[in-house]
């Protein structure tokens, strides 16, 4: 069996499996006919056409998806977009702007070291989005917590950078943001966010186990 024909069979198998009970017999009928289609390409088109017919009869659950389910894909997409955009921005700044620092509170990273922290964050953000989309809530939550930490850290860095470039008392302003009360507040917000996201992830995971 060629790869194209195998693909055609798999498409029809999946479509028949997910079709509503009243058309499942028709799905089997279409699948059986597939074996009699001579050319591989014609078989693929046969499978695609049949799958379209079957998917038009897909069973819709009576209760409807929950609010979380409905926005899951949108959330995943937005999350991936935010993480990637912000971390790309940080990477560019860290590479080309020697004064730019990534960090809040006690953490200050710049240059290539900063860049090394942004790349795993992009990857984690991407994996978190995929996990969220695939309903692996615990993993998505933990990775999100990690990404949030670095995203907030980045925001702190951007604010510090802006202050440095907009004041003559660079040292004083910078120290206030990084070590002063404002920096501590930002650091606390980061810790609180990480903790709350982790708790939320555990809660969702335990709900899934109970279900």
């Amino acid at each position: 069996m060629t790869a194209i024909r195998k693909l055609a069979s798999q498409i029809l198998d999946v479509a028949a499996r997910h079709a509503s009970p009243e058309v499942r017999d028709w799905g089997t009928a279409m699948r059986r006919e597939l074996d009699f289609v001579e050319s591989d390409l014609a078989a693929l088109f046969w499978a695609l056409g049949s799958a379209t017919v079957l998917f038009k009869h897909v069973e819709v659950p009576m209760s409807g998806p929950s609010l979380f389910e409905r926005f899951r894909t949108v959330l995943a997409f937005l999350w991936i977009l935010t993480t990637v955009c912000m971390m790309l921005f940080a990477s560019i700044k860290l590479l080309y702007d020697p004064t730019f620092q990534l960090g809040v509170g006690l953490i200050q990273i710049k240059g290539f070291m900063g860049l090394l922290t942004t790349i795993p964050t992009i990857l984690c953000g991407t994996v978190a989005a995929v996990l969220l989309w695939r309903r692996r809530i615990l993993g998505a939550g933990l990775l999100t917590a990690y990404c949030l930490f670095w995203l907030l850290s980045l925001i702190g860095g951007v604010v510090a950078d802006w202050r440095i470039s907009h004041t003559q008392h660079v040292e004083r302003q910078f120290n206030v943001l990084i070590y002063g009360s404002a920096g501590s507040l930002v650091f606390l917000v980061v810790v609180a966010s990480v903790a709350s996201v982790t708790v939320w992830a555990w809660h969702r995971a335990s709900e899934r186990v109970q279900a």
């Binding site: 058309v23 017999d25 028709w26 089997t28 009928a29 279409m30 059986r32 006919e33 074996d35 009699f36 289609v37 088109f45 046969w46 499978a47 695609l48 056409g49 049949s50 379209t52 017919v53 038009k56």
Partner: protein, 104 residues
């Protein structure tokens, strides 16, 4: 029998194919080949016709090593209905010939 079916050109093609050998059972792929209709067009027609009892369906008797195929043929009522439909289409074609609006 009063039936409300959409008389699309594709449905007429399917009726025509069934009327070639009115009481014979036919396979989906064979109908697709002789009418030129793709599976995505043919099967909704077959499903609709079967739902309205114009078509009867059955599974082939299974033979060892060969999975059964689904077969179709017109019911007695369906046969009459298909003939009426084809007749009305051919009548319409005669009363309204192509280029009838063209004045020479």
């Amino acid at each position: 029998m009063k039936m409300r079916l959409r008389k699309s050109p594709q449905t007429i093609l399917v009726f025509d194919e069934f009327l070639q050998a009115a009481r014979d059972w036919k396979y989906g792929y064979d109908i697709s080949r002789s009418t030129g209709l793709k599976s995505g067009t043919l099967y909704p027609i077959l499903m609709r016709l079967a739902e309205r009892k114009v078509l009867e369906t059955r599974w082939e008797t299974p033979e060892p090593g060969r999975p059964p195929r689904h077969m179709y043929r017109l019911t007695v009522d369906g046969l009459r209905y298909a003939r009426e439909q084809l007749l009305s289409v051919s009548k319409r074609a005669v009363t309204r010939p192509a280029f009838s609006r063209v004045k020479i």
